[in-house]
């Protein structure tokens, strides 16, 4: 009786732990890219795809192979003055701002990986189980 309850529970735990591990690895890789963008990215030119070495180094040491496309530059126009600023909720692909606004530069990354869960059939998981994460780093600004 207990076996019928505990074995599926343990199988689900195994799948769950694998997915959590992969998700943590994706988040850590994204954070490494964001640190790279902060320390080496420069305003309008961004990181120019040079961050690929970070992902190569992580893939060389990790259990999960991370898919990566070079970071894309995104923008936002910040309005306001005297310490009160309004930042748009979403980033834009347009680098044009109204006069008097501040143009903020971001580098945006999307990382993906596939997790091979050990017991996919039991709970009808897609195998491999796809995961992705997206994040952006503020790398500079200029007044317009």
């Amino acid at each position: 009786m207990a076996t019928f309850l505990l074995l599926p529970l343990m199988a689900l735990c195994g799948d769950f732990i694998c997915v959590i591990n992969a998700r943590a690895q994706l988040n850590t890789a994204l954070q490494a890219l964001i640190y790279y963008a902060w320390t080496t990215g420069s305003g309008a030119s961004g990181t120019q795809g040079n961050e690929s070495g970070i992902i190569s180094a992580i893939n060389g040491a990790s259990d999960f192979q991370i898919g990566y496309t070079p970071g894309t530059l995104k923008y936002s126009c910040v309005t306001g003055s005297n310490g009160t600023y309004t930042v748009p909720a979403s980033l834009s692909t347009s680098s044009t701002c109204a006069t008097g606004n501040t143009l903020f530069y971001y580098e945006q990354y999307t990382l993906t990986t596939n997790v091979h869960v050990p017991f996919p059939a039991l709970f009808h998981f897609t195998n491999p189980f796809p995961l992705s994460v997206t994040g952006a780093a503020l790398i500079g600004h200029s007044s317009t």
Binding site: M1, A2, L5, L6, L9, M10, C13, I17, I20, N21, A24, Q25, N27, T28, A29, Q31, A32, Y35, Y36, W38, T39, T40, N50, E51, G53, I54, A57, I58, G60, A61, S62, D63
Partner: protein
């Protein structure tokens, strides 16, 4: 008519069995015998998953913080006389790692010996490996890679081989793509 001794015994056994079948005393104990292992198994699994989350969270946080430290602090000075990359920062890396991993993970001791391109420290069930990757002088840059491994084992089941390693890696650039045609000497600041 008086029954023989054998038949009488049979009748009394049959009667006792009938009484046993109709009896309801001890039902709770029987139900507990069936459900108890499942109940304790659930509690055991919940406690172990909680501990795993706690320890793994600390490992991830510590590895990320070590990567952040390297991205900000570890530098590679460019010299023409150096022919290989060494890892002088392992001691600082271990200190940074310990600051966030301990507790719940056991603090690592400081490494000893000569600096090399790859260093590793193990304490208890946690290993931190630090390596510098990339070719000195190449245009692809030099990267400081950190890998933390937690060999997690459920409490009470450590001797049954039920554990498994949970690994997290990160990397930081110490010399970017502008370096070309020169060799590199990594250093800590």
């Amino acid at each position: 008519m008086r029954e023989s001794g054998c038949t009488g015994r049979l009748l009394s056994v049959r009667l006792a069995l009938r009484r046993l079948a109709a009896a309801e005393q001890g039902g709770a104990a029987v139900e507990f015998g069936i459900c108890g292992p499942a109940l304790f198994g659930f509690i055991f699994a919940i406690v172990n998953l909680g501990l795993l989350g706690f320890q793994f969270g600390a490992l991830v946080h510590a590895v990320q913080a070590t990567g952040r430290w390297a991205a900000v602090q570890a530098t590679a000075s460019v010299v023409n006389s150096q022919t290989s990359i060494t890892e002088p920062c392992l001691g600082s890396d271990v200190s940074e790692f310990n600051a966030l991993a301990d507790p719940p993970l056991t603090a690592m001791s400081q490494p000893t010996g000569t600096a090399a391109a790859t260093g590793s420290q193990t304490t208890g069930n946690v290993t931190l490996t630090v390596s510098w990757t990339g070719t000195a002088g190449s245009a692809n840059g030099i990267y400081d890679t950190f890998t933390g491994v937690l060999n997690w084992q459920p409490i009470g089941l450590a001797g049954f081989g039920l554990g498994f390693p949970m690994k997290i890696s990160t990397a930081a650039s110490t010399v970017g793509s502008s370096v070309s045609g020169v060799t590199v000497n990594a250093s800590c600041s």
